[in-house]
Amino acid sequence: MRSSDAARLESEGLVAVAEADLAALVSPLDRAPAPDPIELRKHERITGRIHGSVPSLPSRFGQFFNDEASLGAALRERRAGLVDELDFVGDRAEMSVTLTWRAPREEPPAASIQTGRDFLEAKSSLGRERREAEDLVARFVDHLAVDQAITRRAICPREGVAAIVAVLIARDGAEALRKEIDTFEQRSSDVTARVYGPLPPYSFAS
């Protein structure tokens, strides 16, 4: 976030570490927190609160720096990229949509693939699924009538899932987007759509 926004958000044990015009809000800890549900929820809540207050780039859970100097050095080194991302995201939030195949693809279990032909045919099948998912996402983004630049997509990220698509929206644009997604889902014989958000822009922060 911008340094000018950081100081007023120092609460819940958070400390602002500034480097020129950029700042990070951190929790002073001896070691990286364990990835247990309580800590994960705490991170999500704090990140949501910060993003709800000021334009900011969320950090992934568990990022740990040995001291303020090393965090400052990281901010200095990555300044240009962070400023670009912050400018790009602006005052927008992320909506995340998981598109799940209605008819699950039947992939042979890896252990059952014993011959070279089986192996290449399985890869060929995965390639076809990937191409279908890419076409589907292109239709989905067209349907939403949003600029490609404000989307991020993971194609076939796991079994049964065609894609996860993240879209940047104005903070008051969530309901309108949900309606468009509902319409797409109703018309699609290929996938169902589950919507999450508005969220801090996790998919748009490196």
Partner: protein, 108 residues
């Protein structure tokens, strides 16, 4: 394989490598406190990258009908064993599939 086929094949591999190289980061980030794992990630990532390039070529040629049954079996088996070996070594060094991608930029 005749000379024309070979030239087409080489052009495709070159194009694939050019596409992949555009995705590579300018710098490779190896943690100085964990050099062995970092180096393993880098080497395995490179091997995996090349394996994926070869796999895509093999699948394309199989779909295009330019591989004989014997070639499909031989190439497929070699790629399958290489994939399993990369995963086995990645497990050994505590590296996930994602670690290999992150270090080299996504190739898939």
């Amino acid at each position: 394989m005749n000379t024309t086929d070979l030239r087409i094949e080489l052009d495709e591999v070159r194009a694939e490598l050019a596409r992949v190289s555009a995705a590579l980061p300018e710098r490779i980030d190896i943690d100085p406190d964990d050099v062995e794992r970092g180096l393993a990630g880098l080497v395995l990532g490179l091997v995996e990258l090349l394996r994926q390039v070869l796999e895509r070529q093999a699948v394309r040629r199989m779909e295009g009908g330019t591989l004989s049954d014997e070639e499909i079996e031989r190439v497929g088996l070699a790629l399958m064993r290489l994939e399993r070996k990369v995963r086995e070594l990645a497990d050994h060094f505590g590296l996930t599939e994602e670690d290999l991608k992150i270090r080299l930029g996504a190739a898939s």
